[in-house]
């Protein structure tokens, strides 16, 4: 028992749901888009920063050139001759060079010395600690200004006569960085919007792209539920072969069942005909041997019947996606019963509420209801009633239908009823051909997830109620 339980769990490992294909595609595309957009953002901000720096430097260069121009008196005003002599610059090209500690400064110093020769009014005597320029003709960089705030400083070396001078122009960078970070914010916002748009587009693309898979699933489900016989093969070329293979599987499944059924039928014919010969021969003869043969033939007949029924049911379990209308099957059976029992002048009333489809083989429905109606006709005095009605099973939340067959015959005692509906049993184990055939009904009903019960009928005889799964009312 323990090993059985262990086997049970080993054979059925807990099913972990796999992440959805759509989620997987969207996730990968989203991660890739986020990385690509972030890299693009960094690159864009870098580009903007460099461009802004160049523009800032170009502005400072203009001021350097203006200071140099003031320092060098290149034209003698009196003679209008060109000369080259150093004069003290008083450059105020921008009002911020006059405003104390405005953040905009210029200085002139001798190369190789920190001592300032001339400076803008805005420095108000404070030093501008521009770094030494060395052998370079010009340099650019960031330093702390006289107020401690960062400034961008551009320096250029000029030589007047024998002496080299370094002109430095500095401007506060606060506005510059504010511009760049504002640009960065705008880029980030724009790229976020683009990113979201992309994810949405990917999601839609995946949804549309995977739609044929959903169609395939719906088609397969319709086949499994018996609403369709085969899967729709008009699918994109990537998954069409899958539908073709599934259809082939369904056909092969049906063929296997059909073959099994034919084998069972042939076996039945092959065994029952000689058995008829043996038992009739034995019954015609006298003596203990004939009696023994007759008795054993009866047992063989019961056994063959029992096992053929089981074999038929085993074959039944493999059928995929079959269903049938109940009304024609029952009407046909009732017509046959009226013919078979015409000597009894029975009145067989048939009432079905709406169109109902049995979720299973019509042969099985015929077998179950055939046994019930035949049994009712066999025992009825004058009346048999067959009622079919759909209902919804609240326990399993499934669409079901009930076939209720009643007769006005002698009925069964509660004990006999309980015995008759036991699965895998026959009430008539020793008498072939005269049984109630109710155990086969109970077995088949259980196989389909239905129920079978017997009760007393208001008509006076037996009431058999069979419930089976349906495709719902139409």
């Amino acid at each position: 028992m323990t090993s059985d339980a262990a086997n049970g769990t080993a054979e059925q490992p807990a099913r972990r749901p796999q992440r959805s294909l759509a989620a997987r595609l969207v996730f990968v595309a989203a991660v890739w888009s986020a990385v690509a957009l972030a890299l693009a953002g960094v690159f864009l901000v870098g580009l903007y920063e460099r461009a802004s720096e160049r523009a800032f430097d170009a502005q400072l260069e203009i001021h350097i050139k203006a200071v140099i121009a003031e320092m060098l008196e290149t034209t003698d005003a009196a003679t209008a001759r060109v000369v080259s002599k150093l004069t003290a610059p008083t450059y105020r090209g921008d009002p911020r060079f006059s405003l104390p500690l405005s953040g905009w400064y210029w200085t002139v110093r001798r190369a190789g010395s920190d001592a300032i020769l001339y400076a803008s009014e805005s420095l108000v005597g404070d030093p501008l600690n521009a770094p030494p320029i060395g052998d370079e003709d010009s340099s650019a960089g960031f330093i702390a200004g006289p107020t401690g705030d960062e400034v961008r400083v551009l320096q250029q070396k000029i030589t007047v006569g024998e002496t080299a001078y370094v002109i430095a122009v500095a401007a506060a960078t606060a506005g510059f960085w504010a511009d760049i970070s504002e640009f960065g914010r705008m880029v980030a916002l724009t790229l976020c919007i683009v990113g979201l748009g992309l994810i949405l587009a990917i999601f839609l693309q995946v949804k549309v792209g995977l739609k044929p898979l959903a169609r395939l699933r719906a088609s397969l489900s319709a086949v499994r539920q018996g609403e369709a016989e085969r899967i729709d093969e008009t699918l994109p070329q990537e998954i069409a072969p899958l539908a073709v293979e599934l259809n082939a599987l369904i056909v092969s499944n049906k063929e296997i069942v059909e073959r099994a059924r034919t084998h069972v039928g042939n076996l039945a014919h092959g065994l029952k005909t000689p058995l008829s010969v043996i038992s009739n021969e034995a019954r015609a003869a006298n003596g203990p041997l004939a009696e023994k043969v007759s008795e054993q033939a009866t047992i063989m007949s019961t056994q063959i019947q029992h096992h053929l029924e089981r074999a038929r049911m085993a074959a039944q379990r493999r059928v995929i996606g079959v269903s049938c209308e109940t009304e024609p099957v029952l009407a046909r059976l009732i017509r046959a019963m009226e013919k078979i029992y015409r000597d009894k002048s029975l009145s067989i009333a048939f009432d079905q509420k709406g169109a109902i489809r049995f979720r299973g083989e019509s042969q099985d429905l015929e077998e179950m209801s055939g046994n019930l109606i035949d049994n009712a006709c066999k025992w009825a005095a004058a009346k048999v009633s067959v009622k079919v009605a759909p209902f919804s099973d609240p326990a399993s939340n499934r669409d079901m239908f009930a076939i209720v067959v009643e007769d006005d015959g002698p009925g069964l005692t509660p004990g006999e009823r309980a015995e008759a509906v036991k699965r895998g049993r026959r009430l008539d184990e020793t008498v072939p051909g005269t049984g109630l055939g109710l155990s086969i009904v109970a077995d088949l009903a259980a196989l389909y997830g239905g129920t079978f019960e017997l009760d007393g009928s208001a008509l006076g005889g037996l009431k058999a109620r069979l419930t089976l799964p349906s495709l719902g009312t139409e």
């Binding site: 005909t273 008829s276 078979i340």
Partner: protein, 222 residues
């Protein structure tokens, strides 16, 4: 009463023929579908016992062909495939009753008796005409309550006339239904048997209709 047995198993065929003959029927037999179909199509039978699993032409097709060609004799099908779908297919094809294999011979005899009786429009297993009473189950004949002994030919003749009492039966019809297919149709043995039967059950019961045949009981009289 003439019966056709179509069964491919020779042993079972022999058993059926013997049992039916012992029950007072004239029996022809066939062991394949085509022969069976031909006999049923050309000879007048009062009932047919037809197996469904037959070589050359299956029983269901034989039956469908007969019905399509307007042959209305009652047919009892024997089937080893005893699912309701098989039985209903047989009934739908035109069978009047079925017996599932393996069966007891008594069951087949009872069903055949019922089919023949029903086809002639009788509800009971006892046929009567005036003082004559025939118990189909026991195969016993009484006149005014006294059992009388009949030969098999006399029994068949009386049974056929009782099944069709009130109707004029021609000598040809009697010959066709009382003898198997090999019988010499020109012989006048029917007249001989009618004469013997009249002596045993009373001369006024069987009426000779000149030029037409014989009639048992008045027209419409049961």
């Amino acid at each position: 009463m003439r019966i056709l047995v179509v069964e491919d198993d020779t042993d079972l065929n022999r058993q059926l023929v013997t049992a039916l003959e012992e029950a007072g029927y004239v029996v022809d037999s066939a062991t394949d579908g085509e022969d069976g179909h031909f006999l049923g199509d050309t000879e007048p039978y009062d009932a047919v016992v037809l197996d469904l699993g037959l070589p050359t032409l299956d029983g269901l097709s034989v039956l469908e062909n007969w019905r399509r060609d307007g042959r209305t004799m009652p047919v009892l099908i024997l089937t080893a495939r005893d699912r309701w779908s098989d039985k209903v297919a047989g009934i739908d094809a035109g069978a009047d009753d079925y017996v599932a294999k393996p069966f007891h011979m008594e069951e087949v005899l009872a069903r055949v008796r019922a089919l023949v009786r029903r086809a002639a429009g009788h509800a009971s297993n006892e046929l009567t005409c005036g003082p004559v009473r025939l118990d189909l189950r026991a195969g016993r004949v009484t006149v005014d309550g006294t059992p009388i002994k009949l030969t098999s030919h006399e029994y068949r003749l009386l049974s056929y006339l009782l099944h069709h009492q009130g109707k004029v039966i021609s000598r040809t019809e009697l010959t066709e239904h009382l003898y198997d297919q090999d019988f010499d149709r020109d012989s006048n043995t029917v007249e001989v048997f009618v004469g013997r039967l009249r002596k045993k059950i009373g001369s006024d019961l069987i009426e000779t209709i000149r030029g037409l045949g014989y009639r048992l009981g008045a027209a419409g009289d049961e």
